[in-house]
């Protein structure tokens, strides 16, 4: 049965936990087959950069503060088919997010265009951020 908007809002507010100190977070969402990665809880806006990646930019500084990687199962299958050794990067049921960003670059044949240069820099920036925070997500997509 569909909840009324009033009850939906009440339930959301009830479920909302008091936010303490924000910690960078990455997690795999099975419903969307996507991994969301955030290094800040600043206000942000999103911009899709390719069929796989949407980047979150802070409104204050216009800096990258996170991303959404879509189609994770397909990405993993593609990477494994081209780089079988990538399977070893899944350890204790978790995958380092930086490895996913780099795997995407290593398995793509990007032509030398200005658009692709920006794309590569965006992936590299995200990989560096993920490395810095040692971000990893449950690899339940394997």
């Amino acid at each position: 049965m569909v909840m009324s908007n009033e009850n939906f809002e009440k339930e959301v507010l009830r479920l909302a936990q008091p936010s303490g100190r924000f910690e960078p977070v990455a997690y795999y969402d099975e419903d969307g087959d996507c991994i969301e990665f955030l290094i800040s809880n600043d206000d942000y806006y999103a911009e899709r950069v390719d069929e796989l990646l949407t980047v979150y930019y802070s409104r204050d500084k216009n800096e990258i503060i996170g991303s959404l990687i879509k189609g994770v199962r397909k990405l993993y299958q593609n990477v494994i088919s081209k780089l079988p050794g990538f399977a070893i990067e899944i350890q204790d049921g978790k995958v380092r997010i930086a490895h996913l960003f780099r795997a995407k670059l290593w398995t793509e044949q990007l032509k030398q265009t200005s658009g692709n240069t920006i794309l590569v820099k965006t992936y590299q920036k995200l990989a560096d951020c993920a490395d810095e925070f040692k971000a990893e997500a449950e690899a339940s997509f394997v």
Binding site: M1, V2, M3, S4, N5, N7, F8, E9, E11, V12, L13, L15, A16, Q17, S19, F22, V25, Y27, D29, D31, G32, C34, E36, L38, N41, D42, D43, Y44, Y45, A46, E47, R48, E51, T54, Y56, R59, L68, G71, K74
Partner: protein, 145 residues
């Protein structure tokens, strides 16, 4: 359109949405886990979830279906997948204070084929049509509303 209900289906909430194929209301599910993750970030994100997600699902300016993908993927991969797009009457700052909608942005809600809303955010609008997300012409298979 709305009926009183309660928390349902293994720790999930439900909310009404426009079904573009019938014009009637359908049920969209949002997991407790997703709500808790989003709401732990800021009061602004909590209010986006509590107020703007239902608004987008019930008052969409556009609804898109399916993703444009690589040539080796079939359209059926995304059949039924939908993106609801709107400009809600309000946006929320990080501290939860209400404000005008963010300029040059639209609010998007994504629901999978099982009618589970799994993500939502403000996205840059198209430079020629401020009611649609940037890149909408090449991003989605079809616009169903």
């Amino acid at each position: 359109m709305e009926t009183e209900g309660k928390t349902t289906r293994r720790g999930s909430l439900t909310v009404g949405a426009v079904d573009p194929t019938t014009g009637k209301t359908c049920e969209i599910i949002i997991s407790h886990k997703k709500v808790q993750k989003v709401c732990s970030r800021s009061k602004g994100q909590t209010l986006d979830c509590a107020k703007n997600v239902p608004y987008a699902l019930q008052h969409p300016r556009h609804i898109y279906e399916g993703l444009c993908r690589d040539e080796d993927e079939t359209e059926s991969d995304d059949a039924g997948w939908r993106c609801y797009c709107c400009i809600p009457p309000h946006a929320y700052n990080k501290d939860g204070s209400e404000r005008e909608p963010w300029p040059n942005e639209v609010f998007l809600v994504f629901a999978n084929v099982e009618k589970v809303a799994y993500n939502w955010y403000w996205h840059v609008c198209d430079e020629n049509d401020s009611t649609q997300p940037k890149g909408y012409k090449t991003r989605f298979l079809k616009e169903v509303l």
